[in-house]
Symmetry: C2
Subunit: 122 residues, 2 copies
């Protein structure tokens, strides 16, 4: 089965905004080259999440993990994302679709941010 990871972020009018997402995508490929990786955006940037999933399915992907790249626990991850996932599930009923917690809700991320905030504090 061909797996993919999709990093799903808010999007911005600023083209530089996506650089950290691209940097995470490159690190995923470096760690596990057989996994396909794509970035997708809620608004202001392309592709949308459904468009990214269409593209992956067309390339033979049958299993996708979506990682919501949101630091805040807001409506985007809680309300907008489920609507998009329902669209995707009805378009690709055979697709194994998994969604992780938003990165801002993953305890390891919170721990690391606290640790880095204190790094070499004088």
């Amino acid at each position: 089965m061909t797996h993919a990871v999709v990093l799903f972020g808010h999007g911005s009018r600023d083209p530089a905004w996506r650089q950290p997402m691209d940097a995470v995508a490159r690190r995923i490929v470096a760690r596990q080259p057989e996994v396909q990786v794509a970035c997708a955006f809620l608004e202001l940037q392309e592709p949308s999440l459904p468009a990214a999933l269409d593209e992956l399915v067309a390339r033979g992907v049958r299993s996708v993990r979506v990682v919501p790249m949101f630091l805040g626990a807001g409506r985007h991850a809680r309300e907008d994302l489920p609507v998009l996932l329902n669209q995707i599930r009805s378009r690709h009923p055979g697709l194994a679709l998994e969604v992780t917690e938003a990165v801002g809700e993953q305890p390891e991320v919170l721990d690391l941010l606290a640790q880095l905030a204190l790094r070499t504090l004088r």
Copy 2:
């Protein structure tokens, strides 16, 4: 010298949005109880960054590290934040004010996000 860490996030109309920032703040206090910690917001939530700094300085803080809690490398961290920092520096000329890279530009964060995105991928 009394130190403080200020977690500076975008802000949202959704009150739940700040939960991950509060969770990081709690972890900082747990690790280093003598450090004061505050959250501040660019928009849509209070306090603003200058208001948070006024408050800390009034409480005797003389050294502040600001941590931009932005995952995207956008104009908020690059353009809006420096304007606020200039305001703060002119209001509190004796304050030692340090700003870290935005969390989305810290290599350890990018590494962890890549690692977590691949966790137990089937």
